[in-house]
């Protein structure tokens, strides 16, 4: 029994990890682009982006998952059901929803970080003849990274746990894997056991973030 449980939990956890990493891969860069949009000097862009961020952060991720997965087919007719009916479609829909959602949260963290860098840093780079992108990548970015590590680690640890929402559109992640044993054999401990997976993985992340923070601790300011 124990082995069967572990096998299924592993399978579920693999899916959890997949959602986690794919979301990071998409949301980390997309968030930067969104943050640029929300700081744009071109008003329409700025307000458009800010509205999207407001909607995404203002509604539950669960609702967004449902809308993104069922929306196209149910609203525009079955021929617009872009996700298809198979597992792949569900997985892609989950990733799309997670990436958009997390990119919006990340964008606000980035924006806070970028705006917290004093104007003098930009100007010092400019008067030395650097281009705007050189100033951003060589002077500003590293300082931003240092400042946003704590809020980002918070958000990323939340992401690990949020992946469990994917089951709402029938993606077989670890909590579903654990819960299925209640129905099949009446055992509750597999469900509780999923907590161990989360704890261990988040423990690992905490160590990694601690390491990065320490690495960047060689300077102040």
């Amino acid at each position: 029994m124990f082995q069967t449980v572990i096998m299924s939990l592993n399978e579920g956890f693999l899916k959890t990890l997949e959602i986690f990493f794919l979301t990071l891969l998409g949301a980390l860069p997309l968030g930067l682009i969104i943050s640029f949009g929300s700081m744009s000097r071109f008003r329409p862009v700025k307000w458009f982006v800010k509205t999207i961020v407001w909607v995404v952060r203002g509604t539950p991720l669960m609702l967004q998952l449902l809308i993104i997965f069922y929306g196209p087919g149910k609203i525009f007719g079955t021929q617009f059901n872009i996700w298809g009916t198979g597992d792949i479609g569900r997985n892609v829909a989950v990733c799309v929803a997670f990436i958009i959602n997390y990119a919006c949260y990340f964008s606000e963290i980035y924006r806070g970080g970028i705006e917290s860098i004093p104007r003098g840093q930009y100007e010092a780079g400019q008067v030395l003849g650097m281009t705007k992108s050189q100033v951003f990548f060589k002077v500003i970015l590293m300082q931003v990274v240092k400042r946003i590590i704590p809020p980002m680690s918070n958000e990323i640890i939340t992401l690990v746990k949020d992946t469990s929402l994917a089951r709402i559109i029938l993606v077989y992640e670890i909590i579903w894997a654990g819960q299925s044993f209640i129905k099949s054999s009446g055992a509750i401990w597999p469900l509780f056991f999923t907590g161990i997976y989360y704890l261990l993985f988040n423990g690992l992340l905490t160590v990694v973030f601690g390491y990065i923070e320490k690495k960047l601790d060689y300077y102040r300011g």
């Binding site: 840093q121 008067v127 030395l128």
Partner: protein, 262 residues
Amino acid sequence: MTCLEIKNITKKFGDTKVLRGISFEMEKGEVIAIIGSSGSGKTTLLRCINFLEKCDTGSITVNGTEIYNAEKRDQYSDNYIRKSRLNFGMVFQSFNLFPQYDVLKNITLAPELMQIKRKMPDTEKKNIRRQIKEEAYELLKTVGLSEKAGAYPCELSGGQQQRVAIARALAMKPQILCFDEPTSALDPELTGEVLKAIKSLRDAGRTMIVVTHEMEFAKNVADRVIYMSDGIIEEIGTPQQIFSDAQSEKTRAFLQKSNYEF
């Protein structure tokens, strides 16, 4: 030889006219000190000269070439402004060193970005890097900080940071070096070392514009002194003329108020 010619610069922020027609010329090797009360537009003037602000009217001519004319301000590309800026160096009141880089890298970063192109062969890149580094060590020596090359800005005193900022500005080989109150953010006992560094630059023949509240320094180091008031040059002359024989009532009142003892 006229090195810099500023003609009729004006600058408004919203409805406030901060600069109301500034014109002056300076010779190569000359040091001009700008004094004036808070809000008179000294910083804004330096920022216009360095293109951190774009002035509303007026022109800037360096070595006989007009590099900026406000009438064409919308035609200048970012790239053109960036290149024109290299005529000037700027040292800020608050140093603005890059905290994540050590002293050496603070100085070499901009020259490396400027000179090293991606397509260059590696040996050439290495040679350029080495030369930039050698020059940086040379500059550190002139500001008396050779032993601090590997230190981070947060490990330095304010006076040391400001001297690094001076070396960093010099690394781009500007024609004219501008200082905006380089000692105002420093504890009194640290101003001396920075002023000494500036003085030695003068002795080396650097062309400099120094905005300062240090009257003693302006008097002893500058070739000419500009007194600014309400966005105009109220009076310009040798330190002797300004400090001992000011023509304008305003200048005299200002000097009295800043406790300058004749």
